[in-house]
Each structure stands twice: as C-alpha cells, then as structure tokens.
C-alpha cells in the first residue's frame, strides 16, 4: 500500500461500498460477535446473567468515553466519575418522585449527556490551559467535590440516601410486550447494546475526522499543533466535553437500571480509577482494547473476586492444607481489588504501555519502537 505514487487512485478503488466493506474477511469475527450479542438473551434464559451483561455495558460505555479523553487527547482525567454522577443525578432529579417531575427517559438520555458535557466545559475551560498533570489533580479534586455536594445538598439530591424510585424507560407496546422496562433485564440489555453501537459509530467517526487528527497532534506536540493552526484549548475542551457526554449517557442508563442513585456509587475508588484501569489495561486509544479491558475488569470485580474465596476454601479443604484454611485467604482476596488495580496500572505502564490490544499507532508511540512499517491500514484498528 505504501507504494502508491503518482496519480491518486480513483476514489471508488479505495472505498468499496459500505455493504461490501462489511463483508470483508477481517470483519467476519465482528459480525459473528454481533449476532451472538443479539441472540444472547434468547439463547441464555438465565436472567441474572443478562442483568450482569446489562450492567457491564455501563462500564464499556464509560471506558469508551474516558478513552476519548485519555487515549485520543492524552489528558489524564481522574474525576471521570463526576460526570457519571452528574448524568445520573440529572436524570434522577428530572425523572422521579423527588420533585414529581417525570420527563421521558429518551429525552433525558440525551439531555443529561448534554448537561454532563456542559459541566465538562465549565471545569475544562479554565483548567485545560494548564499543563496536563495539573489537569489530573484538578479533575481528581472535582471528582471528590461532586459526590460530596450531592451528599450535602439534601433538599435537592436526597442527601446520603440518594433518590429512590427513579423512572424507567417506556416504549410503545409491541408483540405482546407492554413496553415497560420495569425490572426486566432484557430490554435494558438491548438498550445498552444499542447505545454502545451508536457510541462506537460516533467515536469511530471522530477518530478519523479533523477533530481526531487534531487530538493526536496535540497529544504528540502541543507547540507544533498550535503552530499548524489548531486551537489547543478548544480542541482539548471538546475531548473533555465529549468524554463527559458519554459518561452522561452511561449515568442516565445506570440510574434507571439501578432504580436509585446515591452519592456513594460515584467515588474515586469506585468509578474513576476503575474506568482508568479499564482503559489502560485494554490499551489507550484502542476502541477494541478498551471494550475488552472494561469487560475483563468488570468480570474480575463482579465475578472472580466474589467467587475466588469460595474456590480457595474448597481447594484448601480438598487438599487438606490446614494452615491455609486458617489463614482466611478468602477475605484477603476479596479485599484486594485496590492492590490489583494498582498493579495493573503500574505494571502496564512499566511493561506494556500500549495495553493488551493496542491501536496500531499508539503501539509504536508508546513502545517508542523503531519499526519501519507503513501504516496504510491504520484505519482498521
């Protein structure tokens, strides 16, 4: 591909029709995966597993959003939970018995994304002029303030107890289904799947656009980027706001799925770091990687760490290792997610900075490799 010289090839050659592209061999695994995801609730009758999947989607969404900020624009946002909280609370306040306002979920899904983005702009506008590491600490502070404000503004946010009885989405009745989401995980599953697909489409567009290139340029050399006419502050601000808006999406969905919002669900340890770990583990700047990272961490958190003590107990009793049974390793393991996250963050940065499934460009960038490869196929990462 790198040998393309002289006259530019006809456009038709470079880009086959959309349908044609879909059928390319490299996309077949993705197609199969898509079909599997669509059929999952039908094939698997275990509702609690569908429920888990519906929650996992929230984290995928959050990781995709943070990836815009950290992976594309190269800004470390340690207060990402704040925007998630703002999205959740915006929805919960405007669609619950709290003030007896009940605006439709479908409107608020976008409205609260917009509100979160506005807060992103409010925080980012003054601080994005500062150097990157200051941004990290400012966002960390912001991420601490927001849940505290929600906890202390009792008349509006319900204080420590939060808001219980958040509205749930409704659709027109079809095929004998009432259209009420209620506590049935299946419609939620399809909803989050749809939102993720939409976001993937949007983010993929962004990455290959004027804006995406500008982010990459800023990440590499801010001075040179400004010298080529990129307004670095507004461009970074856009990354911040767009990242926040995806978090707002996730927040709305999360609040309605959980039926309740409370300030405890949005702390640094519970959300901001977890999402950062997902992005770093999967590979900053790689959509594929980030999705895998999100699912992996979610799986570890919600399944492995909960099951592991049981496994260890049964293993140690089966092997009759008496002293190990007495040590109560189980409870240690369960409490060790701090340690695991820390090891992942530091370990990945030191040993494999590009993450598990890197994007082609970030891979070379973070490895500082010297390979001579042409990157004509960069767009497929």
């Amino acid at each position: 591909m790198s040998q393309r010289t002289g006259t530019p090839p006809a456009v038709g050659n470079r880009k086959p029709s959309r349908l044609g592209r879909l059928g390319r061999a490299q996309n077949i695994p993705y197609l199969l995966l898509g079909i599997a995801l669509l059929l999952f609730p039908i094939l698997d009758s275990n509702r609690s597993q569908i429920d888990v999947a519906a929650f996992a989607g929230v984290w995928v969404l959050l990781a995709l959003g943070l990836n815009i900020v950290v992976g594309y624009a190269g800004l470390l946002d340690l207060g990402y939970a704040a925007f998630f909280a703002i999205g959740s609370y915006a929805f919960a306040i405007l669609a619950s018995g709290q003030f007896n306002i009940h605006i439709s979920f479908w409107i608020l899904l976008f409205a609260s994304a917009f509100i979160a983005a506005m807060f992103g702009v409010l925080l980012g506008a003054p601080t994005l002029r500062l150097r990157g590491d200051y941004l990290a600490i400012v966002t960390l502070g912001f991420g601490e303030i927001v849940p505290r404000v929600f906890r202390n503004l009792t008349p509006i946010t319900g204080g420590v107890n939060g808001i219980v009885g958040v509205d749930q989405p409704k659709l027109p009745a079809v095929f004998g289904w009432s259209g009420n989401f209620g506590f049935n995980p299946i419609p939620y599953y399809y909803l989050i799947l749809g939102v993720i697909v939409l976001c993937l489409f949007l983010i993929n567009n962004l990455r290959n656009s004027r804006l995406g290139r500008a982010w990459m340029a800023i990440r590499e050399d801010e001075v040179a980027a400004a010298a080529t006419g990129i307004n670095t502050v507004t461009t970074k601000l856009l990354a911040f706001a767009l990242g926040a808006s995806f978090s707002g999406f996730a927040g709305t969905y999360y609040a309605s799925k959980l039926f309740i919002v409370s300030p405890e669900s949005f702390s640094f340890q519970a959300v901001s770091v977890v999402v950062l770990v997902m992005v770093v583990l999967g590979g900053m700047g790689s959509m594929r990687g980030v999705i895998v990272g999100a699912l992996l961490i979610y799986f570890i958190q919600s399944y492995v760490l909960i099951q592991l003590p049981g496994w260890i107990v049964s293993a140690t009793t089966a092997l009759n290792i008496d002293f190990l049974t007495k040590l109560d390793i189980g409870s240690y393991v369960q409490r060790s997610n701090f340690l695991i996250f820390g090891i992942i963050l530091a370990g990945i940065m030191l040993l494999r900075p590009q993450g598990l499934l890197p994007s082609a460009q970030r891979k070379v960038e973070l490895e500082g490799g010297t390979s001579d490869e042409a990157v004509a196929d960069l767009g497929s990462a």
């Binding site: 470390l76 601080t127 990290a136 600490i137 502070g141 701090f338 820390g342 992942i344 900075p353 973070l366």
Partner: protein
C-alpha cells in the same frame, strides 16, 4: 475569642501535618515535574511504621525519662525507613519512565498509590486503628485561650524539620545539587552532578518528612487507617500548589494556611465539616486557574 484561638491552634496543628506532606510533593515536582500521587499513601505508611516502632519499643508504657529518647528514635527510624521506601518506588516505578510520554509516569504514580493502599488494607484491615499520643498532655492557660501542650510540640517539631530542610537545601552541597537539577537537569548533569542520586535523595527526604507527618497525625488524632493518604494527600497537594509548587518555603506556608482554612470553615459554619473539603478543592481549582504560580511560586506551570 476562646473559640477563635482554639480553631487557630487546631488549624496550625493540621497545617503542620499538611505542610510536612506538601514538602514532599513540592520537592519531587520541583525536581522531576511529576505529581507523585503515591505521596499521600507514603505518608500513611510512615504513620504505620511509626506505630509499629512504638509497639516494638513499648513506648506507651515507658517511663517518662525514656520517653523523649524513645520518641526521637521512633521519628528517626521511621523517617529513614520511609525514605528508603520512597527511594525504592522512584527506582522501580518512576526512573524507567523518565523519558516516556508524560502520561505514563502519572498513571504509574496513581497505580503505586493504589498498591500502597492495597497493601495497607490487606495488612491492617479496613478499620481505624488507635494510635498512642506520646506527647505531653495538659494545657497552657494564657487567659484568653488555653493551648494544648501537645499541639505546641507538634507545631515545633514540624517547624524544626522545615528549618532543617531549608538549611539543608540552601547550605549543603547536596542541597545545591538539588536546586541545580530542579532548574536545568541537563546543565546540572554537565556540571558533574549525579542526577539519579540527587533525585533519589529528594525522594528520600520527601518521604522521610511524610513519615514525620504521619506520626504527628497519629499523635494528634490518636487514630490511623489505610485510606488516610487519599484525602490528606490531596489537601497537602493543594497546600503545595497554594504556596507555589516547586517552592519549599511556599509549601510550608501553604500547609499552614490550608490547615487554618479547613478548621475555620469546619468550626464557624453550620455543618461546615461536610463542606471544608469542598472548600479546599475549590481553592485548589481557583489557585490553578487564577494564579498557577501560587503564593511564592517561581515556575510557571503553563506551557
């Protein structure tokens, strides 16, 4: 008046702790331009090391004559051990990334912070652990106010350490090397300064001071737990920024000011306790936005 004086003393005591921690942030930032997110947890580890040493020496039950040398030993040993921890972290986690993109050491620092917190969590559990106060009790009555003698000791210890640090940086050869490295690393290297050693010494001193802060915190609050470092670290960082990051005197002054602000907000406003952190972090954001060089700052963080 009495309430005012009480809050002021409380603020100065807290401020002494924040200042000791802020010094570590500011020194490390000054020399390698890294926000050492793990520093708050290094502070907690220092407190725990002190607690362990007190237990080993049995100082809670020691006769008064042995108490003073005992406390001095605890401080010295805990500061040295914690200093070595800081050096080890720098060597293992930060040095390999010194020339990596800026994001890499920052994320690593967050990771190290979580590793330290995780280890403390596994070893010490989630609960608060009681900490003996080895400082003399009693109050000094000044008529308009009565001041806890322990608080006076805390402030004096912190001030003593800060003055010692300042003398060290201004007067000694190593201090000069540190200042030179902070200003221009390449030029310092050309002048024959061993950069790696200078950075390691900076981490050693910063972490040592954090240990002193941790022990003092234990004395003042008579309790300690694994997650102290997060909040206190953030506040101390605010103090460092407030005073002007990279500036040692600024960090000390910033620490005291932030401590006083926290206790005044907490003391004078209805339900102020809940809002004091919000106030501190708002100050952080305000300072960064309107005066990023801080009170006495010398380096401009804008690019």
């Amino acid at each position: 008046m009495r309430f005012f004086a009480d809050q002021l003393i409380l603020g100065l005591t807290d401020g002494a702790i924040f200042a000791l921690v802020a010094l570590g942030y500011t020194m490390v930032y000054g020399i390698i331009e890294l926000i050492n997110f793990a520093h708050g947890d290094i502070f907690t580890v220092g407190g725990f090391i002190g607690l362990t040493l007190i237990g080993i020496l049995g100082l809670q039950h020691a006769p008064p004559a042995l108490l003073i040398p005992g406390v001095i030993v605890v401080f010295l040993v805990a500061m040295s051990l914690n200093g070595l921890l800081g050096v080890a972290i720098e060597r293992v986690a930060y040095r390999p990334l010194r020339n990596a993109p800026r994001l890499a050491p920052l994320i690593t620092a967050v990771g190290i912070s979580f590793i330290l917190e995780g280890i403390l969590f596994l070893l010490k559990g989630p609960n608060q652990i009681s900490y003996p106060n080895l400082l003399p009790g009693g109050n000094l009555n000044l008529g308009f106010a009565s001041i806890g003698i322990g608080n006076i000791f805390i402030i004096l210890i912190a001030l003593g350490l800060m003055i010692a640090l300042n003398q060290f940086i201004q007067r000694t050869r190593i201090g000069r090397a540190m200042r030179a490295t902070a200003q221009d690393r390449d030029a310092a290297r050309l002048m024959g300064i061993n950069i790696n050693r200078t950075i390691a010494i900076t981490f050693f001193i910063g972490s040592g001071l954090a240990a002193a802060g941790g022990i003092i915190y234990g004395f003042a609050y008579q309790t300690i737990d694994f997650s102290l470092g997060f909040r206190n670290g953030l506040i101390a960082f605010t103090a460092a920024v407030f005073g002007g990051i990279g500036n040692v005197v600024g960090a000390a002054i910033g620490g005291f000011i932030i401590g006083i602000i926290i206790d005044f907000v907490g003391g004078y406003f209805q339900g102020g306790q809940q809002w004091s952190d919000v106030v501190v972090f708002s100050i952080l954001i305000m300072v960064l936005v309107f005066r990023p060089t801080g009170l006495l700052g010398m380096r401009v963080p804008e690019k």
